[in-house]
């Protein structure tokens, strides 16, 4: 079976400015692949290269076994794409836009389209400019999914969506993968990818720094934790816990960084009365940095 996406030293420079610097990527058919990286890392550049919107400075790309430049039309026929910045002429209804895009695809299954529209809760009769950002994103999602493409390339698909819709999107992506479609989605938030992807690649400064199973990433991710207890707690009670770093206790309040499994930590704090608990994912940039230095350490 041909791989869904493969790039070899894919490179893109905008004049002297780096867009992508030798990206090697491989996405297997039927998987949900999270393409993670901070803003400006080269995620959108990669996606645009895959769709032949941009032309590479060096290296090569292959999508569904096709070369973007030579077989762009055939390739795009089999791909559903959601741009990171979904902007369309606002003086039309979603129905008109979707009809146009469907015509460009040689017609689509109307029932499936209607089911998608209903699923995301979109009113297709409203002009697009009077839709909220979240509702516009729904239009973008519908047009990407509507022709049941073999490969979905989604650039920051959940941006602007409320939590309920994010969950709906995750369900759609998982169903797509279950029916054999491949999903390639970019994000700058780990938790978004965690919820849905099988594997994730991490891109930083135009290069792929790591590829791993999402569970592995999660185990390695660091969370900033702040807990307020009912009563002051002794710091020693937590000092022995594995994977806890930067521990500080001040009166009733505990702060620390939790790495990997939370099990032992949760069982320990459960012995005290917990008034509130705040757990924040670490900034992605920091996490990548931690990940990256880890890898270096291991090699050394």
């Amino acid at each position: 079976m041909t791989v869904a996406i493969r790039t070899e030293s894919l490179t893109k420079y905008y004049g002297k400015q780096r867009g992508l610097d030798g990206l090697d990527l491989e996405v297997q058919p039927g998987e949900v692949y999270g393409f993670l990286g901070p803003n400006g890392a080269g995620k959108t550049t990669t996606i645009r290269l895959l769709l032949d919107v941009l032309r590479p400075t060096g290296g090569r790309a292959e999508v569904l076994g096709l070369e973007p430049r030579a077989s762009g039309v055939e390739l795009r026929k089999r791909v559903g794409y959601l741009p990171g910045d979904f902007v369309v002429n606002g003086r039309q209804t979603s129905r008109q836009l979707l009809g146009h895009l469907a015509a460009l695809r040689g017609g689509i299954d109307r029932e499936y389209l209607d089911s998608l529209i209903e699923r995301v809760g979109l009113d297709p009769t409203i002009t697009i400019r009077s839709l909220s950002k979240g509702n516009r994103q729904k239009v973008g999602l519908v047009q990407a999914f509507m022709h049941r493409p073999e490969l979905l390339i989604l650039d920051e698909p959940t941006s602007g969506l409320d939590p309920m819709l994010q969950r709906e999107f995750q369900a759609m992506a998982r169903e797509a993968a279950a029916s054999g479609q491949t999903v390639f989605m970019s994000s700058h938030v780990l938790s978004e990818v965690q919820a849905v992807a099988d594997r994730a690649g991490i891109i930083r400064d135009g290069r792929l720094v790591a590829v791993d199973r999402v569970e592995t990433l999660r185990e390695r991710s660091v969370r900033q934790v702040e807990i307020v207890f009912d009563d002051p707690v002794p710091v020693e009670a937590f000092a022995a816990i594995e994977d806890v770093e930067h521990l500080a206790v001040e009166g009733n309040t505990l702060t620390c960084q939790l790495r990997g499994r939370a099990d032992q930590f949760v069982k320990t704090i459960a012995r005290f009365g917990v008034a509130s608990l705040l757990s924040e994912e670490q900034d992605l940039e920091e996490m990548f940095f931690a990940y990256y230095t880890d890898e270096e350490d291991r090699r050394a």
Binding site: F86, R105, G106
Partner: protein, 268 residues
């Protein structure tokens, strides 16, 4: 394999711009109506006395040297100055809107990521420009033809038709020029500026510049010279000039397709 709907991009471009197109059509119809209608009101001899008081070079520059005859009047007004300029302005604006402005707004990306080739995209957009240019010229033709009886213009209908065809081709040359520049630069302002500059130079190149002694040859480089609406009204369809305009449009379309096919979209 399912087939893409034929000229769907052309259809959509025209549909999206329907209000804009209607506005221009009404404007052109109104201007044509006023200019043509005025002919019935004025006494040609009064024109003559005004015209005689003006310097000859000025008259020739603006094609007003033959005001009193019906075809002369029509060639100096409707097919001479205001309507061709308005139509060219429309064509440049429309040609820019359909490629460069679409790209600058970021809305071209979604179309370009549909299963359509870059060349097909450009050709279908140019087709929309062509339909619009011929539509505008048809409006002008219809108004002149309808009024020619009531104001006793006495210009042969086929000459009016020929001049209107030249008007459409003049517009298409500049419309496809705007698309051609847009094929290389995805910036609205730059494309309008460059195309307008060519139009201005071309216009004066067929009017004022040839009046300067020794510079008459310059008109051979002017699109407006090959348009020659006034001459066509007098003498009928000029196939050679029409072919030059058609040829120029074809070249611009090819240049547009060439430029657009080889570059990045949305980074300029």
């Amino acid at each position: 394999m399912r087939k893409t709907a034929v000229l769907e991009i052309t259809r959509k471009a025209l549909w999206d711009q329907r209000k804009n197109l209607l506005g221009w059509a009404i404007g052109l119809a109104g201007a044509t109506f006023i200019y043509t209608g005025v002919y019935g009101i004025f006494d040609p001899t009064e024109f003559d006395s005004i015209v005689e008081s003006l310097p000859e070079e000025f008259l020739e520059a603006f094609g007003w040297d033959n005001f009193a005859s019906p075809s002369g009047y029509l060639g100096s007004t409707v097919y001479g100055l205001v309507i061709p300029i308005l139509t060219v302005v429309f064509a440049i604006a429309f040609g820019t809107r359909l490629l460069a402005a679409d790209e600058e707004a970021g809305t071209l990306e979604l179309t370009a990521t549909c299963p359509v080739s870059r060349i097909s995209l450009v050709l279908q957009r140019v087709m929309a420009v062509a339909v619009a240019c011929f539509g505008m010229a048809t409006v002008v033709f219809a108004v002149v033809a309808l009024l020619s009886g009531p104001v006793s213009l006495n210009v042969p209908l086929e000459n009016i038709l020929a001049a209107s065809f030249q008007l459409a081709m003049l517009a298409l040359v500049f419309g496809s020029l705007a698309v051609a520049i847009g094929g290389f630069i995805g910036r609205r302002g730059l494309v309008i500026g460059a195309a307008a500059a060519v139009a201005v130079v071309s216009y004066f190149g067929s009017t004022i510049v040839p009046q300067i002694s020794g510079l008459a040859w310059f008109q051979n480089f002017s699109v407006f010279y090959y348009y020659g609406g006034a001459t066509v009204l007098e003498e009928g369809f000029a196939a050679g000039n029409a072919l030059i305009l058609i040829g120029l449009s074809v070249v611009f379309v090819a240049v547009a397709a060439f430029g657009f096919n080889r570059r990045d979209i949305g980074t300029a």
